[in-house]
Symmetry: C2
Subunit: 174 residues, 2 copies
DNA sequence: GGAAACTGATTAACATGTTAAATGGTTCGG
DNA sequence: CCGAACCATTTAACATGTTAATCAGTTTCC
């Protein structure tokens, strides 16, 4: 099985018991996902950096390029950012005139966001390098394997979305 | 194929050309990895939160629990954190007396870090819930599939680690 | 029609990610 | 042996992640 690989006292520590039984965390799922993502992003960051873009700003611009207009909440969902992060980034992107924002007509709480002409130009400037990197990754890892990995990731995401988040029972110690 | 799904003008925008040819970014590998990881971490965060622990603090404690002592650089590698983050977190964990730190004997630049008795107690308090969550995830997604996913993630990581990071040629515009 | 409840967005506060610079300790070459 | 180069760690500065609080606009219901 090789699954029950717990950390025990290796029997050599002079300072006494120091180990707790637990999976080797370097092989935990969150770590594997984190490292894989970092390995991928490492490829893209230099290119984005040359255009003074962060990963999140790039996500927002791409999300905006795919639609005529959107609203902040919808954009947060699409770009997978939390409201506060998005709020700050939109402020900066607006100052750089890469996006435009106006208040909604029917509902004034809603902000209507869209990409600007400059924003589109920037995307066109970055896209070629970005696509080339993606192609290189695909070549190296294998297109079939990559598609399979994506499927498994989506399956995982959907598996867990249905899972109740244990709220840790009555706090007896507080 | 279904792979060349580019974003084109859907032919309905009244405001003119607004689309740039590019893969639908919501299906990009970085986004898939990010969402999958978030789905997983969402399960763990409440439990950690009940013990006043962040995800990164937990990573550090677990990494420390697996060894007698370590050094900051080595710990950064193990817990997959950058030096500056680690530096701050170690300061806080030390203040909470969950870890201990002393200067190296041979080389005084190196700090020798270890987990404290309190730190070990905390791990023992959190581990059961943590393991239970991991078990639930495994049950839901399938042990076999999970192992396969991990293999594919590691393969991806190693594929890319050998890949040159394109440094974007001569900056003609600067 | 107006107060209470609700909703979308922003602000606040604190922790981490990320790159660059600074700080101290160590090693190496002359 | 001493200054330059190097190395481990921390500090600095700014951007994002995360939760809670705030704020303005909207809806509900009496």
């Amino acid at each position: 099985m090789a699954r029950k690989q717990l950390i025990k006292n290796s029997g050599s520590g002079p300072a006494g018991v120091r180990r707790v039984p637990m999976r080797d965390f370097s092989r935990s799922l969150p770590m594997s996902l984190l490292r894989a993502r970092e390995a991928v992003m490492r490829q893209f960051r230099p290119s984005l950096r040359h255009h003074e873009l962060t990963e999140q700003q790039w996500r927002i611009l791409r999300a905006l390029a795919a639609v005529e207009t959107t609203e902040v909440t919808e954009l947060a969902r699409t770009a997978f950012l939390l409201g506060p992060s998005l709020s700050r980034i939109l402020r900066d992107l607006e100052a750089r005139q890469l996006i435009e924002r106006r208040v909604g007509e029917a509902d004034q709480r809603r902000a209507v966001v869209s990409i600007s002409a400059d924003g589109l130009k920037l995307i066109e400037a970055v896209a070629p390098a970005s696509e080339a990197i993606y192609a290189a990754i695909t070549r190296r890892y294998g297109a079939r394997k990559l598609a399979e990995l994506q499927d498994m990731l989506h399956a995982l995401e959907h598996s867990l979305s249905a899972m109740e988040v244990a709220e840790e029972g009555p706090e007896a110690e507080k």
